[in-house]
């Protein structure tokens, strides 16, 4: 620490938001929307559907019918909490793990599968046409989010860009540069650091020495807040507040959602190589679905019958989507040129022809 006798010229703090304890008991007065039980049931359904879909996707991968897939097991509250606080006209800039967010915003399951099945057409997405596709180069969507938000501000549109990334991504300069610019122009953008404690095999303490990820916003001159990312009510409340602030011209915010990656990094990973199973066991006790369920049950808003019904409904929806996915038409090879430019430069016509004529085989 710098000499304690010197005058302090600036002070900062990071606050943390949570409403439900891991066992579903209430820690402090809930936000208003939580009194609307159907709303909570919708959040619950969103999380259950996401988890069920993810698990099915993994089994598709295991049986060779899908490529590498990144599940969000244990992180469903972040996905659903954020997505449910957004409007359709807002723009989502998601990471590869944000399946639940995409589903909530209208992307069809078969589209998600098509993308991870190795077909660009999956990104055609039935979600809002202006949403960005999954971002794979970690953190690189953050400056784009600032660009999107700048467009909103310039056109005086009451819209917000929402940018999701992981704890690992906070180490990338991209995120820093983006947050810094968003601060300067008080842009309508919300950054969400999905802190699942791991970046593949790299634990948080090797990623950064900062006590919280939320405090990284201090460097950019705006507020960062921690939220219990396994408490969907807290995530939604934090997102609603941040998005409302952004929409009203109050500038950006960073939300650090504290959660845990209960699964392997992707289907190509084996977390047992680097992570003690006990850690995972402990974290299972905090997972978001059981938590909200316990609360709903305590409110007499949920029971075994509904649970079974929901599970069956999700299974049915997923099975149907998988069928459509598996029945998807093959992609003609020459189409790899079709969206290269708005119009194919004549120079490349012969290459396209070579592919369509099969003379490339």
């Amino acid at each position: 620490m710098a000499d304690e006798g010197l005058p302090v010229v600036a002070r900062f703090e990071v606050r943390q938001r949570s409403y439900l304890a891991p066992d579903g008991t209430v820690l402090r007065p809930l936000p208003d929307f939580a009194s609307d039980i159907p709303k909570l049931l919708a959040l619950y359904r969103g999380m259950v559907l996401t988890r069920a879909f993810d698990l099915k996707a993994v089994s598709l991968q295991r049986t060779g019918r899908l490529g590498t897939y990144a599940v969000s097991l244990g992180q469903e509250a972040v996905a659903v909490g954020i997505a449910s606080a957004m409007r359709q006209e807002d723009v989502l800039l998601p990471s590869y793990r944000d399946n639940g967010t995409l589903l909530w915003r209208g992307t069809k399951m078969e589209e998600i599968l098509l993308f991870w099945g190795g077909d660009e057409r999956g990104n055609l997405s039935s979600g809002p046409a202006h949403d960005f596709p999954y971002c794979i180069p970690v953190g690189s969507q953050a400056p784009q989010a600032a660009g999107v938000a700048y467009a909103f501000k310039l056109r005086k549109e009451p819209r917000v860009a929402v940018c999701l990334f992981g704890d690992g991504a906070t180490s990338k300069g991209d995120v820093w540069e983006a947050m810094n610019f968003a601060g300067v122009h008080k842009l309508p953008v919300v950054f969400v650091a999905n802190n699942n404690q791991w970046a593949i095999s790299v634990p948080l303490q090797l990623q950064t020495a900062s006590q919280t990820l939320a405090q990284k916003a201090i460097a950019a001159g705006f507020t960062g807040e921690q939220v219990d990312g396994n408490d969907v009510i807290a995530v939604r409340a934090a997102a609603e507040e941040a998005i409302a602030q952004a929409r009203a011209g109050g500038g950006p915010r960073l939300i650090e959602a504290l959660t845990y990656r209960l699964s392997d990094h992707t289907t190509a990973d084996d977390a047992a190589r680097y992570r003690p199973p006990e850690e995972v066991q402990t974290r299972w006790k905090e997972e978001p679905i059981a938590r909200l369920r316990a609360y709903l049950v305590s409110q007499k808003a949920w029971g075994k019958a509904q649970e079974e019904e929901l599970a069956a409904e999700c299974q049915k929806e997923i099975e149907a989507a998988i069928e459509r996915y598996l029945a998807s038409s093959p992609r003609a090879p020459e189409t790899m040129f079709d969206h290269l430019y708005a119009e194919l430069p004549r120079t490349y016509a012969s290459q396209r022809a070579q592919l369509s004529g099969g003379s490339d085989a």
């Binding site: 600032a146 660009g147 540069e177 610019f181 430069p345």
Partner: protein, 326 residues
């Protein structure tokens, strides 16, 4: 028609584009009240406001990433990178995003952005200010790479680049920013991005070049004419995708070809032109395809930079050799 320098022509095209289309925004370091370190954006902020002419923080990755986000939202951002030596932090956004946003989303999103930057050496600038690494960009599918070599072409090609629905890297030959004036009419007419410009007709040999060194190439052609050699001079202008037909047609006619560029030789874009000819023009060739280029070493600081940049005598010598080959 007013006589303008190349940098003035760029300024004019930017003003025109901003006037025509409210979606056009300009962003970069010092582009606002300062008008850019070369004055390309001078007067724009006064005229179109600080919201459309944005002085960004000092962060090139950011500038390129902002452009991608803005473009996906329907704006037409024109980013400025202060010198090409500082463009490398943009490569990730250019390769992984800008150039493939349309393809990744199968046309759902697109990326109509322009990234402008001064290109090349010869102005006695400090270290890192004299880069010619266009070949790195011209290899990237989905990108356009454009480099004017006269005020007229600067005006017309920049307008075309801004109007183009896909991402364009626009490289401006620093050395000739103010070298010569040209007639530029502010008529809003764009030049096509898919043709090379035949600047001089000739039947003995084809000289192909782009950017600032087109000047030396033309000077060499004039000198050669005095020696009885009529060189056809082609300004490639758009490097990606480039006009293969014009190149091949000329070489078919002349049978000899010398490529001139300032960038380092190995893996420079001249290699691509030579490869094209070796592949599709071979039967017309009467002599080896020669490349007159920067050397395969670091562009030296000002004391030696003129020895690095292809000179008129080097071009003349290589061309004579090509013509004398039998």
């Amino acid at each position: 028609m007013p006589e303008l320098t190349l940098i003035e022509a760029i300024n004019l095209a930017l003003a025109r584009a901003m006037q025509e289309d409210a979606n056009v925004v300009v962003l970069g370091e010092d582009v606002g009240i300062n008008g850019g370190v070369f004055r390309a954006t001078v007067g724009l902020q006064q005229r179109f406001g600080a919201e459309r002419v944005i002085d960004t923080p000092l962060a090139e990755l950011l500038i390129s990433g902002l452009c991608v986000g803005m473009a996906a939202q329907g704006l037409k951002p024109v980013g400025e990178i202060q010198f090409m030596g500082f463009i490398y932090p943009c490569i990730d956004q250019l390769v992984n995003h800008a150039s493939r946003l349309r393809n990744r989303t199968q046309g759902r999103l697109s990326c109509p952005m322009v990234l402008r930057t001064p290109h090349g050496g010869g102005i006695r600038a400090p270290e890192h200010h004299s880069e010619s690494t266009e070949a790195m960009l011209a290899h990237i599918p989905g990108l356009r790479v454009v480099m004017p070599s006269s005020p007229e072409r600067a005006y017309g090609l920049l307008l075309a680049s801004i109007r183009d629905p896909d991402p364009v890297v626009f490289l401006e030959p620093t050395r000739i920013y103010r070298a010569a004036k040209g007639q530029v009419e502010d008529n809003g007419e764009a030049l096509p991005l898919d043709i090379a410009f035949v600047l001089r007709q000739g039947h003995d040999v084809t000289l192909i070049s782009w950017g600032a060194v087109v000047k030396e190439t033309l000077a060499a052609a004039a000198e050669l004419a005095g020696q009885g050699i009529e060189a056809e001079v082609i300004d490639l202008a758009t490097l990606k995708p480039y006009d293969e037909e014009t190149v091949l047609a000329s070489v078919t006619k002349t049978g000899r070809c010398v490529i001139v560029h300032e960038a380092a030789r190995t893996g420079g874009f001249g290699a691509e032109i030579a490869a094209l000819i070796a592949e599709r023009g071979l039967t017309s060739l009467l002599a080896p395809v020669a490349r007159v280029t920067g050397y395969d070493t670091i562009m030296p600081l000002p004391r030696l930079e003129q020895r690095y940049i292809p000179s008129v005598p080097r071009i003349v010598a290589a061309t004579r050799k090509a013509c004398e080959f039998a």
